[in-house]
């Protein structure tokens, strides 16, 4: 390796290290400070969080419930829709898909008012349904799965359909095994998105604090236990990412997302 190349590699490494430190620094600070309470090092802050502020965990379970339900239902809805757009030929398919993409491009705030009016008309405001139903329909999920399903050979689908004479079995044996990694990646992304919801909860559940997710309540946690609260909030997401990091990065790389 020439000296010039070595220098370039070093500079790149230094720049990336600085960026990595910038990203890791806040998390490291929160983590370290969560073990400090009244100037002493230990688990007192966690004890105070879990015992004196025991309702904190109720909100934690609210978040777990919302994120899990949204992720599961979103996948169940998105798989057939994506299959429809990827493999079934019908009139207006491309126009309909274009509309899907259009909705995906819209920021959440743009659809907030229509969503609010709809939920109000269905008497769903201030209930857990208001925090889950709008997020169950994700154009992004449909888009992602469609990209994956397009790579499944039509012959495989036809053959399985003839062999099994059942659409459900065809899904099970021909489609799902091919998009397993995509489903895992999608589940993580949707779970993270639901775990971090703030605006929806604040708007759709204005008068019912008890059903709030942890992401909203985090700001109201007493200052002396805020760092421990932050760690408990971040922990599931970080662990999920660490556990499925390979699947996630491979999926993103293979489809250039």
């Amino acid at each position: 390796m020439t000296n010039k190349k070595k220098a370039t590699a070093l500079i790149r490494l230094a720049a990336l290290s600085v960026l990595a430190v910038l990203f890791v620094y806040p998390i490291a600070v929160i983590f370290i400070k969560s073990f400090l309470y009244d100037g002493t090092f230990g688990l007192k802050q966690y004890w105070e969080l879990f015992v004196t502020n025991f309702t904190y965990l109720d909100f934690f379970w609210n978040s777990v419930f919302y994120a899990t339900v949204i992720t599961l239902v979103c996948i169940v809805i998105s798989v057939p829709l994506a299959f429809l757009f990827a493999k079934v030929r019908f009139k207006g398919r491309d126009g309909l898909f274009f509309m899907f993409i259009l909705v995906m491009m819209l920021p959440f705030q743009a659809t907030l008012l229509p969503n609010y009016i709809q939920l109000r008309n269905f008497n769903m405001l201030n209930t857990p349904l208001a925090l889950t139903i709008p997020m169950m329909f994700s154009p992004f999920a449909v888009f992602l799965l469609r990209q994956f399903m397009k790579t499944i050979p039509n012959e495989l689908i036809d053959y399985t359909l003839i062999e099994t004479s059942s659409v459900l079995r065809m899904f099970r044996y021909a489609v799902l095994p091919q998009i397993k990694s995509a489903l895992a990646a999608l589940a993580i992304l949707i779970f993270c998105e639901s775990w971090n919801m703030v605006d929806q909860a604040l708007i759709f559940s204005m008068n019912n604090d008890k059903i709030m997710p942890l992401s909203v309540v985090l700001g109201n946690v007493p200052e002396d236990v805020r760092y421990a609260g932050g760690v408990v909030y971040m922990f599931p997401i970080i662990m999920l990412f660490v556990m499925f990091r390979d699947t996630l990065t491979k999926t993103m790389e293979s489809y250039r997302l």
């Binding site: 015992v51 025991f54 007493p222 922990f235 556990m243």
Partner: protein, 130 residues
């Protein structure tokens, strides 16, 4: 690496589950339960307080007053050691309860601890007996 992550996740879930079910119970079991009363009785022109509320040490007589603050999960009650001056009161007018004249140290209507299930310390958190 995966094994470590699984162990950490399992521990985390166990801690969360334990405190979800027992956090509130632990809070109420570790803090002393106290009975409180307002300084509101008068004999003649002097306020009286139950003798059971008055403690003594080398610095003199004191009572535990109660302060409250809105916590995240409930109202948090804290007791504070407050020095008082009391004088004997011979009148036992309520079913054997003994009272003492309050000379100084407390305001009228202030909350004081009259009974506690455990020993109290200045600044310790308590729960109120219903």
């Amino acid at each position: 690496m995966k094994k470590v992550i699984v162990i950490v996740m399992t521990l985390f879930c166990a801690v969360i589950l334990i405190f979800t079910f027992f956090g509130e119970k632990i809070y109420y079991s570790i803090h002393p339960k106290v009975e409180i009363e307002r300084v509101s009785m008068m004999i003649g022109d002097k306020p009286v307080i139950p003798k059971s509320a008055v403690y003594s040490d080398e610095s003199g007589d004191y009572v535990y007053t109660l302060s409250s603050s809105e916590g995240f999960s409930m109202t948090i009650y804290t007791v504070h050691k407050t020095a008082v001056m009391v004088s004997p009161c011979d009148i036992n007018f309520m079913q054997g309860d003994e009272y003492a004249y309050l000379e100084s140290g407390l305001g009228f209507g202030e909350m004081i601890v009259v009974m506690s299930t455990k020993g109290l310390l200045d600044g310790c958190r308590v729960t109120i007996l219903e």
